[in-house]
């Protein structure tokens, strides 16, 4: 399972060194059993330059009791950044990522992440992202990132 379709991976492979490794699997697909790990879906809106990710963390992603592990949320933030950076700006590698965790996310409750491009500087694409509860009343984390466009 990959995040992108074959044709897009082929296009990326022309610009960036990749190697096909047998039996490799996308990190987000940590288990074959449903609902235990990362359950997520990402929507991209090209005209508004936004990406929305809906993420339901399963029990495998626990940090402190009943709470999402910070880096599990960090992984979904990185993935949402990737989709935003790739579809809007053809950028694939994370340059920098900064996450500030504001309040703990509860396991199995849905997190809504929204990422957008806030600027570009030559090959750099600057993005920001917020992870909130589904009703948008609680902010779990705020993040910013810099990705680099492919040549």
């Amino acid at each position: 399972m990959q995040l992108l379709k074959e044709a897009e991976l082929a296009r990326i492979a022309k610009a960036v060194p990749v190697q096909m490794i047998e039996d490799a699997r996308l990190f987000l697909q940590i288990t074959e059993m449903e609902t235990l790990g990362f359950e997520y879906v990402i929507f991209h809106n090209d005209s508004e330059k936004k990406c929305i990710c809906l993420f339901q963390p399963g029990p495998l992603l626990e940090g402190l009791p009943g709470i999402i592990h910070g880096s599990a949320l960090g992984t979904v933030i990185d993935t949402t950044f990737f989709m935003m950076a790739y579809y809007s700006a053809r950028a694939v590698f994370t340059g920098t990522m900064t996450i500030t965790f504001k309040s703990p996310g509860i396991l199995s409750s849905v997190v809504r992440l929204e990422a957008k491009v806030t600027g570009t500087e030559g090959r750099k694409v600057i993005l920001s992202c917020e992870a909130q509860s589904s009703d948008r009343t609680i902010i779990f984390a705020e993040a910013s990132a810099i990705f680099f466009r492919m040549r």
């Binding site: 990959q2 699997r25 790990g37 495998l60 996450i99």
Partner: protein, 229 residues
């Protein structure tokens, strides 16, 4: 479910991690099912060499085990099946860190790592080999998997016995990490202000010549008065 695990563990008495596989290893069936099946809870220490460890990882492991001989460095055990432990039951040095998703892979497929801690210098070094199930772009380690290892290693530099949460994580990825390669994550606690713990970290290749990432992070100790369950 996890609470009943905890109750069962209490009746087993003090929990000591077997070093170097003193107990016969539990047979691994499916990764996630074990958390919920539990008639018996076996504590297996995963931070010891297994057949999936590359030569680089084993050599580094031996070097760091040598450093442990004079007591300045300590190898940290890593468990999977234990979720929450009452810290009053267990002495600080023996506090196992439950890493559920990180240890939910079969040997060699996910996170193969071992951490060594130096309490005087406030450093934690992690030797990490990323397997094929940690892929981001073809052939490279997923940024989130790298962030996970940086977060955990930095957390261990910040504090071993006490419960902490990550408040801020700032990572500068310099070069992508190929799958299967071994990296050395060096983390150092450089400032402590009340409940705040500031850690800096870098990720390098085995020979030290390639810098894969640099990170700074802030951890906060949880208020011991509040119950965390």
């Amino acid at each position: 479910m996890l609470r009943s695990c905890l109750a069962r563990l209490r009746t087993l008495g003090a929990l000591r991690g077997p070093r170097g596989g003193a107990r016969p290893p539990a047979t691994d069936t499916g990764p996630a099912l074990r958390l919920f099946s539990s008639e018996e809870v076996i504590l297996k220490d995963y931070s010891v060499p297994n057949p999936s460890w590359s030569k680089d990882l084993r050599l580094l492991y031996d070097q760091y085990m040598k450093k442990c001989e004079d007591g300045s460095w300590k190898r940290l055990p890593s468990y999977r099946d234990v979720a929450h432990l009452d810290s009053k039951l267990i002495k600080e040095e023996q506090m196992p860190q439950a890493r559920i998703f990180i240890r939910s892979y079969e040997d060699g497929l996910g996170f193969e790592f071992v951490m060594f801690h130096n309490d005087v210098e406030k450093k934690t070094v992690c030797l990490f080999q990323g397997g094929p199930y940690l892929q981001g772009l073809s052939g490279w380690l997923h940024g989130g998997a790298m962030a996970t290892m940086i977060d955990i290693t930095s957390g261990m530099a910040a504090s071993i016995g006490e419960r902490i949460v990550t408040a801020n994580l700032n990572i500068d990825f310099k070069r992508p990490v190929p799958l299967y390669s071994v990296v050395v994550i060096n983390s150092q606690l450089y400032k402590a202000e009340g409940r705040k713990l500031f850690v800096s970290c870098d990720v390098r290749s085995v020979d030290g010549k390639t810098l894969y990432a640099e990170a700074t992070s802030l951890f906060v100790k949880l208020d011991p008065e509040k119950s965390s369950t």
